[in-house]
Amino acid sequence: MGCVRILADGANDPLAADAAYWLAQFYSDLDVSWVGRKLVLRADARSESELGVLWRTALANERLHHAGRSYRSAALAALA
């Protein structure tokens, strides 16, 4: 059973807060919770190292999502 505590400051960093929210949605085996400024990830079948990579993936995905919003809207509008 893996458990990591990540310093992420969800209260002041909306990107981290969103990433954590979506992490819980997309990976149903995860337990995601905040303890103060630390994000706690728990999963029965994932190691600590894996949970670390999972967090980086979630952050990257959220960053990519925001970076791409306007381009994507323009693209879909162009296709309409």
Partner: protein, 471 residues
Amino acid sequence: MTLFTPLRTRLMSPDRALFVNDGGGFFRAGPDFLDRLSSNALSGSDRRFLIERGHGVDDTDPLGETAFLYNVAERLTLSGPLDYLILVPTLRCNLSCSYCQVSRAALDQKGYDWSDATLEAVLGMIDGLPGPRIKIEFQGGEPTLRPDLIRAVIDRAKRFQERQFVICTNLQQLEPELLALLDEPEMFISTSLDGDFDTHRRNRTEDADTTRAFRRNLATVVERYGPHKVSALPTIDPERPPQPDALIDAYLEFGLESIFLRPINYQGFARKRHASSREQDLAWRAYHEAFVRRLIERNWNDRSVVLEESYFSICLRRIFQPGADRHVDLRNPNPLGHDYVVIDHDGQVYPTDEARMLSRSGVIDLAIGDVHTGWDTPARATLNAHASNLRDPACQRCAYQPYCGRDVIDDIARYGRIDLPRHETEFCRRHLSLFDLAFRLIYDEDECTRYSLARWLRLEGMPVSFGEHWA
């Protein structure tokens, strides 16, 4: 030189993430690449790779944006004219299957067949269809109880250049009038085969004689027309799924190689007798994966046969070959009541067969009109307001969005509402699981796996690999 990277990512294994671009192209990479991408520190060879594979659009590249737009457009449903009809000429049935979703009518009941006026309206509607092709599926009840109605419809549809007909039948009776219909070259047969003799009897036919009659008739039609004209589907009780080999063997006995694993849904009669058919998640998914892996083993051991789980094959083709299938339950956007409709025994029009069954079981009325007065109605417009996954905040972040779809009716059937967060719906969880499995297999270098994937994707050869890896 700005590089736009329309990518979404999902963890595949402890140190590998899957990246999918908006056009559906994908690759796998490790955490170092992830970090370079996130911190805007892409190397020259990173950028070159991304651009060459359509994962990145460089604003100075004249073709980049056009190709990107094309690839995205290729993933979107282009709903054409109405050319696919599901017709229910009668609700009466000569069986009483335990899980029946349509609340069937008994053989001698009156008022459950198309009236003359309804038949005329259906024929008139067929006359007015604009395109050169048509597909008509006959459902019920048991549609073969009214071969005259089927005949009237297919004769009227002879004018179309491209025609395809499907009769969904329990194959309990095969009289000459029905055989004449089945003999039509454009006619296909769809039936239910739940497994071996006992399983089928328990679920559907109740006694040994009826079961024998069905099996005899199934053997007859496969013999007469060849296995490619016949498809069969099992309905599986997720509480008691059959051993994969037992189910596969039951199909192979009749020369049938495609199996669409369909868990019981709790509509109609199914609700009364199978109360626990709601939450089948993890156990079902484990069964499904074991089933697919068993197919891979068996395909490798016997190359003369290509077994497939039909829905999984559709998911694979959704990944690699946009437009290859027109499976109306998995597409995005999923327009309802436009390119295909269901016309019930009473002339009511529904957007999908599931919608018809749901309405039949009294849960909610999803009719969008009727065959006499049409179906361009506010009801249809309401259903279509949420027919796409493009604006859903979860789907927007999901790596599988280009391959996935939207099934408003399924949400209504299970939850009575369509605004639940995606991950709380079975549709989303099921497809996350299916695509996760698909990508595990895509990156499985085992030759047996590659062999089955190549056959399920209908390839002539066998690719050396199905997915790229970027260091």
